[in-house]
């Protein structure tokens, strides 16, 4: 009996040892959580930097460094093809369908752009949700400032969605109990929310661009974007006001004289704008309003998967015997995009057609520093060729794509690694020249061609081109001016969709698809994955796709 009691007691002791509830609780120590990050001004700084990172990752191709990935070589180029500026000839497979208008709902970038935009929206929404809960701020203005940044990025992401897909679900919070029954919010309603977000941003972002870190948003960046969104909304009067606010702010002016890192190297002020490290204000650039930051070989400065725009616009010159890769020639190019003759012209080349192009002779944007037409053999091992001029022919331009007039905006080469795939030049997302052109668009919309001409002339004056009159000013001219000033920098598709000129311009200038394009091609299809996952409610596809 005693034995049994002793035994039982011993067992009970053993059993109770393991009864603690805390034994099974989890503690997260290896990742950040919203509950321990969005609790102070510093935490919100980190979250806000996250929004910039997501924005920058639009240009990321294969996701090196763990960034959001498109997992394809030409995401951004998909916004330039099937318009009036460039052809895609034998290009990367991920781009062809966009150029040929054969894209389907399962096309890679159709899905990745949707995901990128909603990723940015949800991170912004998360910050907004927690900003309402947090009470621990360093200064009382912090809360509004972070909310303003988050709302700017939310509007910026919806801008891409609305341009590409039309009606998209509008969400402004995180749905912890997930839903499967989203419906497509009408485009006008989404744009209305975007305007509200940007107005809040204009009111609450910092005013002095020299008082914030390089690359950070200011009230003027929000105003510039607001102007474009008003144009999209059709509210030209407000668009005019928003653009004028930036132009008259006193902080920005078009660069007219050479500046910055160029030193005494040959070039002009326009080519200076695109030299490495010449985009931020500290370098003297007072024209840039918002700049996405990259930096070569620096942690936080992007990786080799970032910004393959360079490879897209530069010819594949290294396949020509007599050429070797060189940083002065822009580094390695693949020519995913081939410029169209009608705007770049055939002067200085041996291509057929004797096309004048849309530039005037004095326009510095057409100078040899900005559009390279003179290519010289640079391979010292080929004595017979070295130093001689290589001819751009119909074949090198449109068949082998090894030589054509190339815009130098994206040239990037480092002598240490000539076959670098990425580019580490900062990208000027908004610059004052575009603000002038948005102003001109606003005037055209209010049927004020004289004032529109005045705005455009500011840009033309800087470029050394002749001034135009109100009579010459119309939408076509404005669209051409946007090419002259902003080709490659702007998402051409967005501009043409906003001005309702996509089909007309393609029919006029894009021989490959002019007979194929219809109004259905103005929008991309809704990604198949989204339609498959949204089982709770109908999610109609855009017309023309299935």
């Amino acid at each position: 009996m005693k034995n049994i009691i002793t035994t039982s007691l011993g067992l009970i002791v053993l059993l109770t040892l393991g009864g603690c509830k805390k034994f099974l609780e989890e503690e997260l120590k290896t990742e950040l959580a919203p509950s321990n990050t969005y609790t102070s001004t510093y935490g919100f700084e980190v979250g806000s930097a996250g929004l910039y990172t997501l924005t920058r990752s639009e240009y990321n191709t294969y996701g090196e460094g763990g960034a959001f990935i498109h997992n394809g070589a030409c995401p951004y180029e998909a916004l330039q093809v099937s318009t009036d500026i460039a052809d895609a000839i034998n290009s990367d497979g991920s781009l062809t369908a966009f150029a040929n208008l054969t894209l389907t709902a399962s096309e890679r970038f159709v899905g990745t752009y949707w995901n990128w935009a909603y990723n940015l929206i949800s991170s912004a929404n998360l910050m907004l949700v927690y900003s309402e809960k947090n009470t621990n701020w360093d200064t009382p203005e912090d809360k509004a400032r972070f909310q303003a940044e988050a709302r700017f990025f939310r509007a910026y992401a919806y801008r891409t969605l609305v341009y590409l897909y039309g009606d998209v679900p509008y969400v402004e919070t995180i749905l912890y109990d997930f839903q499967l029954n989203f419906t497509r919010t009408p485009k006008a309603e989404v744009i209305g929310h975007m305007v509200d977000d940007l107005k809040f941003a204009v009111d609450n972002l910092p005013t002095n661009p020299d008082g914030v870190k390089e690359g950070k948003l200011t009230k003027w960046a929000a105003s510039h974007l607001l102007s474009e969104i008003y144009l999209l909304q059709g509210n030209h009067a407000e668009a005019e006001k928003a653009a004028l606010a930036v132009i008259n702010s006193g902080y920005y002016n078009l660069m007219k004289n050479r500046y910055g890192v160029s030193g005494s190297k040959p070039g002009d002020v326009f080519s200076d704008l695109f030299l490495e490290n010449n985009q931020n204000r500290k370098s003297g650039n007072k024209e840039s309003i918002w700049v996405l930051q990259f930096q070569f070989n620096t942690i936080g400065g992007g990786t080799n998967s970032d910004d393959w725009t360079r490879r897209a616009w530069i010819p594949n010159y290294s396949t020509i015997t007599g050429f070797v890769l060189a940083d002065t020639l822009g580094g390695r190019g693949i020519a995913q995009l081939v410029p169209m003759k009608w705007w770049v012209g055939t002067t200085g080349t041996n291509a057929t057609g004797n096309v004048a192009g849309i530039f005037e002779a004095n326009d510095i944007r057409n100078s040899g520093y900005n559009i390279k037409r003179n290519w010289y053999y640079n391979n010292a091992n080929e004595a017979s060729l070295y130093g001689k001029k290589a001819n751009i022919t119909e074949q090198t331009w449109f068949t082998t794509k090894s030589l054509f007039p190339a815009i130098t905006k994206f040239f990037y080469g480092r002598t240490e690694n000539l076959s670098l795939t990425g580019s580490y030049k900062d990208r000027m997302k908004f610059r004052l020249a575009e603000t002038y052109l948005l102003l001109a668009e606003a005037y055209l919309g209010q049927n004020m061609p004289d004032k529109a001409a005045q705005a455009v002339n500011e840009v033309r004056k800087r470029a050394g081109a002749s001034e135009i009159t109100g009579a010459q000013m119309n939408m076509d001219f404005l669209l051409d001016e946007r090419i002259r000033e902003l080709v490659g920098e702007e998402s051409r598709r967005f501009t043409l969709v906003r001005t309702n000129t996509l089909v007309e311009r393609v029919k006029k200038y894009n021989n490959a698809i002019k007979d194929k394009i219809t109004d259905n091609n103005i929008l991309w299809p809704i990604p198949q994955v989204i339609r498959d996952a949204n089982t709770g409610a109908p999610f109609p596809q855009n017309p023309g796709y299935n």
């Binding site: 034995n3 035994t7 053993l14 393991g18 034994f23 609780e25 989890e26 997260l28 290896t30 990742e31 919203p34 990050t37 979250g47 930097a49 996250g50 929004l51 910039y52 990172t53 920058r56 460094g65 763990g66 497979g93 062809t96 399962s106 890679r108 995901n115 909603y118 990723n119 949800s122 991170s123 929404n125 969400v171 919070t173 995180i174 749905l175 997930f178 839903q179 499967l180 989203f182 390089e214 690359g215 950070k216 500290k282 370098s283 930051q293 620096t298 942690i299 936080g300 400065g301 396949t319 015997t321 068949t399 082998t400 090894s402 480092r414 240490e416 076959s419 795939t421 989204i530 299935n546």
Partner: protein, 985 residues
């Protein structure tokens, strides 16, 4: 019906003054061979001896004593001591039935089992002569599939018992090493140390491990000491390996023609543009080599013949109170890919000590140290490289881009890097068996502790591409990784056994707790002064410095009760119930309960069969039904997390800033709970024809509910993936194992083991609304892992009427399901399952006098895989080398099976093939030196053998390096020729 053995025993009297005499003898079997380990006890006393390797024994006993001979697998024999000294003992019994097997928390005789399990004995374990434990089991256990996705030395395999139950949670079986759950790599275990291995397959066998046993359990027992004289054993293996096969790529001329075809068809080049030198079909570098006639066979550079050496020395022995075993093993294995290798050192010791009549304890220690660093070449870049690409330049350095293509570069360009990788694995297990004062009641406490750490230091110097000097930037790139893991398990079992007449039952109660912790740190940097310091001066890195750390912890608490009841040894019943709590689940759902019931009936012992059917030796029917759980998801899925791996930068000379944003799967689900599998198993065990034919047939049906899955949700929720318990799956199958003794002569024996497994899995339910989840490729009524895509049914030929939009000759002919002339999303179909329809294996063992031979053939049938060779576009990107004799479409080759190089695959569909393959896994020849000759040399036994592993594979798919992974550049399966020597001292 029973095996008999004859015993020859001698004894002699050397003292008549005392009652104690020395009794000496030998216990042999029918064939005259000594039986080792027969226990010889004096009846009524506690002391006894064991026979040595030849069956000899010596025992001191009184003249009037009775000796009891017991041997597992045989019936006991009791014999009075013969005063003259000759003791003949006849032991009879059925050695197969009485085989002792390891089951959950204990051992049992095979005849008493109610659950479905397979036992792998030493014979099966040693049939394949590789140094990897799992490699030795491929194909030999019904229902147990081992796939080697990466065939590098020391790489882990994918283990599956009875198919996959879970779609997203881990499907690996639970591994119990010496009674303690073990989560380390099985490649760390020296196969020569394994005494036996049991695979627990059905609900009842694994019920005792309920919480993690939904995927089955593998029980591994290490050899321990036994009573008797110290035995020393040496095992050695030496051999050479090479890749079983290579990829047959195009030769130089074929390659040029292929490039011309691409240029013609895809880019529309004609005339001079097609010329190798003057045209634009190959890069400038290739043109140079073409003109000079320089070609390279790239696979020669990356593959090699590799040596392996494996030695093991072990010593074991014991007295009645103390038993010990110690073993030391060293393995040095080169891999068949340049720079891959594995060195492994194993030290194993264990001691079992009996203190007094109620306390026995044991301690075991295993230590493994592995070293396997080295940067291996990129096989894909070797296979796809142009034959005219440049390998090395004039100064002997590797050309970074042999064909000037940045996506297929020089495979060897980083092999000169330094990489040190060490792994230590320290496993401690201890137990205490306490007999409690109540009769039949015992307490066993098990404690296990596992500590593993890994260190990897990598340095890319200036003799590599990664670490080269780049203009003003100093070269050299270093990284250091330290990973640590420890876990401890403490279990307490209370066992009560009782026999009342014909009723025998035992009751077991268990309480167990386990905690795991895994943490790691990593540092990296670039830009060093000199390569001499390797990665040891990482603090002096001038750029790209980054540090990181991570932590993951989990815990489990469990309570279990089991009752085993047997009536007359013929009617058996087992009931088990287990409650487990796991930290990975939500606060409301941490615990779950898993009950199991099993019954078995020894039909063969019933009078109506035993007396009437003479050819039936044993027949047993088993039935079990019950629940097991799965909690194998990564921790912290119930919590919200932010993604902060990417940094940003402000300005042109700013410092990096930390960022955080919500990732696509950043939102947690606080309601996550256990996944439960309910399985039914019906089994038949039989022995026929005087034990000439025996086997097991099992049929099972498993249903899993509350599957742990990430479900894709529309990203507008703020995230597009979240863990949830949804859906149900089902696995059903049949397993057959047959053992036959085909020829059982005096000199010649021939045994065969055939194993056949069939498993059919399917998704029963997803979200309760009957709707398929296309985004995740989950279809109700279809297998768990399927390919869902446009189905390619051929290639459009010239002159064929093209019935779909957008197709042209040379393009893939896709199945138009609705027949409307357009290929669109609704035309996609389920292509097939990624798991095989059947697997089978056949093992034959022959022995003639002292010679023996064996052969093992395994087969996997009807599994759908990616057909990479057919995907010309993705293999070559339109630029690289391709496969020899590929039958691709050109206008001149219209009846082709592979698409045209000009086919751009706008829909992005895949190419699939139903693959079957049969592998000759092993052929061995061996010779056991006759005992007398061995004695003359001074040893107890010598065994020499020669074998070849992975001799060849027959299949309907070609151009793969490893049939378990059809990616053309996976690490190749190695064919190895081994020579082995076993010596017993």
């Amino acid at each position: 019906m029973s095996a008999t053995l004859s015993v020859v025993a001698t004894n002699y009297v050397y003292s008549q003054a005392t009652d104690q005499i020395n009794v000496k003898g030998q216990v042999t079997n029918e064939a005259g061979e000594g039986l080792k380990g027969v226990s010889v006890m004096i009846k009524g006393a506690k002391n006894g001896v064991q026979t040595d390797a030849n069956g000899h024994y010596t025992i001191r006993a009184s003249r009037t004593a009775t000796l009891v001979f017991t041997y597992i697998g045989f019936n006991n024999q009791e014999i009075k001591v013969n005063p003259l000294g000759v003791n003949d003992v006849k032991l009879s019994g059925n050695n197969v039935l009485d085989q002792v097997v390891v089951v959950g928390y204990g051992t049992a005789k095979k005849k008493d089992l109610t659950g479905g399990l397979a036992v792998v004995g030493k014979e099966q374990l040693s049939i394949v002569s590789t140094s990897n434990l799992m490699d030795r089991l491929v194909g030999q256990v019904a229902g147990f599939s081992i796939t080697t996705g990466e065939a590098a030395p020391g790489a882990s395999q994918t283990l599956l018992i009875r198919g996959e139950n879970s779609i997203s949670a881990n499907n690996s079986p639970l591994i119990i090493l010496d009674g303690i759950p073990y989560s380390g790599s099985l490649a760390d275990i020296d196969p020569n140390n394994v005494e036996n291995l049991s695979i627990l397959k059905d609900a009842s066998a694994s019920a005792i491990y309920g919480s993690r046993a939904a995927n089955g359990v593998i029980l591994i027992q290490t050899k321990r000491g036994a009573l008797g004289r110290a035995q020393v054993n040496y095992k050695g293996l030496i051999g050479m390996a090479e890749p079983m096969q290579r990829i047959n790529v195009m030769g130089p001329n074929e390659y040029i023609r292929f490039q011309q075809d691409i240029a013609r068809i895809r880019q529309g080049y004609t005339g001079a543009l097609l010329d190798p030198i003057a045209g634009d079909i190959i890069s400038v570098t290739e043109r140079g080599n073409y003109a000079k006639g320089i070609t390279n066979n790239w696979q020669d550079y990356v593959f090699r013949k590799a040596m392996t050496m494996d030695h093991q020395l072990s010593i074991s022995g014991g007295t009645e109170n103390t038993k010990y075993m110690a073993a030391l093993a060293a393995l040095d294995q080169e891999g068949v890919v340049y720079n891959s290798k594995l060195s492994r050192l194993n030290i194993t010791t264990n001691v079992d000590q009996t203190f007094n009549k109620w306390l026995t304890t044991g301690v075991g220690l295993q230590y493994t140290r592995k070293s396997d660093g080295g940067i291996t070449p990129n096989l894909e870049h070797a296979i796809k490289q142009s034959p005219y690409g440049s390998y090395k330049d004039e100064s002997g350095k590797y050309v970074p881009e042999p064909m000037e293509y940045s996506l297929i570069v020089n495979p060897m360009r980083n092999v000169n890097a330094i990489q040190d990788r060490y792994n230590n694995n320290f496993f401690l297990s201890g137990y205490a068996n306490i007999l409690l004062p109540v009769e039949g009641l015992s307490l066993r406490s098990n404690f296990g502790y596992n500590y593993r750490n890994g260190f990897t230091g990598t340095y890319y110097g200036r003799n590599t591409f990664e670490g080269r000097d780049q203009g003003t930037q100093a070269g050299g790139s270093a990284s250091i990784n330290n990973s640590n893991y420890n876990d401890y398990t403490w279990e307490n079992l209370l066992k009560y056994e009782r026999q009342i007449g014909d009723h025998r039952f035992d009751v077991t109660g268990l309480f167990s707790m386990q905690k795991t912790k895994s943490w790691s740190t990593a540092q990296s940097g670039a830009g060093f002064v000199t390569d001499d310091t390797e990665y040891f001066m990482i603090g002096s890195a001038s750029r790209l410095v980054s540090n990181s750390a991570s932590l993951s912890e989990s815990a489990m608490l469990s309570y279990m009760g089991r009752i085993n009841y047997a009536y007359k040894g013929k009617y058996l019943l087992t009931l088990t119930g287990r409650t487990d709590g796991a930290s990975v689940f939500g606060i409301n759902n941490k615990y779950a309960f898993f009950p199991v019931a099993a019954a078995a009936w020894q039909i063969g012992e019933e009078r109506f069969l035993k007396d009437n059917v003479k050819w039936l030796d044993m027949l047993k029917i088993r039935l079990s039904y019950g629940a097991n759980g799965n909690q194998a998801i990564t921790p912290y899925r119930t919590l919200d997390r932010l993604y902060s791996n990417v940094k940003y930068i402000w300005g042109d000379d700013g410092a990096a800033v930390t960022t955080a944003y919500l990732a696509g799967d950043g939102v947690g689900n606080p309601n996550l709970k256990w996944e439960t599998t309910y399985s039914t198993n019906l089994g038949l065990d039989f022995q026929l024809f005087n034990n000439r034919l025996g086997g097991t047939i099992d049929a099972y049906l498993s249903k899993t509910k509350d599957l742990l899955m990430t479900r894709t949700v529309p990203i507008m929720n703020g995230y597009n993936r979240i863990w949830d318990n949804i859906g149900a799956t089902q696995n059903k199958g049949i397993e057959v194992t047959l053992n036959s003794a085909n020829v059982k002569g005096e000199n010649f024996q021939w045994n065969t083991t055939a194993v056949f497994s069939l498993n059919r899995d399917k998704i029963v339910e997803l979200r309760g609304d009957g709707i398929d989840d296309i985004a995740n490729n989950w279809f109700i009524g279809q297998p768990l892992r399927v390919f869902y895509d446009y189905k390619m049914i051929g290639v459009w030929q010239n002159g064929e009427t093209i019935t779909v939009d957008g197709a042209a000759p040379g393009a893939a002919k896709l199945y138009d399901r609705d027949g409307n002339g357009k290929i669109e999303a609704s035309d996609r179909v389920v292509i097939g399952s990624k798991n095989p329809r059947y697997t089978a294996s056949l093992a034959n063992r022959f022995s003639y006098k002292n010679f023996y031979a064996s052969a093992l053939v395994t087969g996997v049938f009807d599994v759908w895989r990616d057909d990479h060779m057919a995907n010309l576009g993705a293999w070559t990107f339109g630029i690289t080398n391709y496969v020899h004799d590929a039958n691709y479409w050109t206008p001149e080759n219209p009846n082709a099976t592979i698409v045209s190089p000009g086919y751009l695959n706008p829909l992005g569909h895949g190419y699939y093939k139903k693959v079957s393959y049969v592998q000759v896994k092993n052929i061995t020849f061996g010779y056991k030196l006759p005992h007398k000759i061995a004695k003359k040399i001074g040893v107890n036994g010598i065994d020499i053998n020669a074998s070849v592993n992975n001799l060849n594979t027959i299949s309907n798919i070609r151009e793969v390096l490893n049939y378990d992974n059809t990616w053309m550049a996976s690490y190749p399966t190695a064919r190895s020729y081994m020579f082995g020597l076993n010596v017993n001292f």
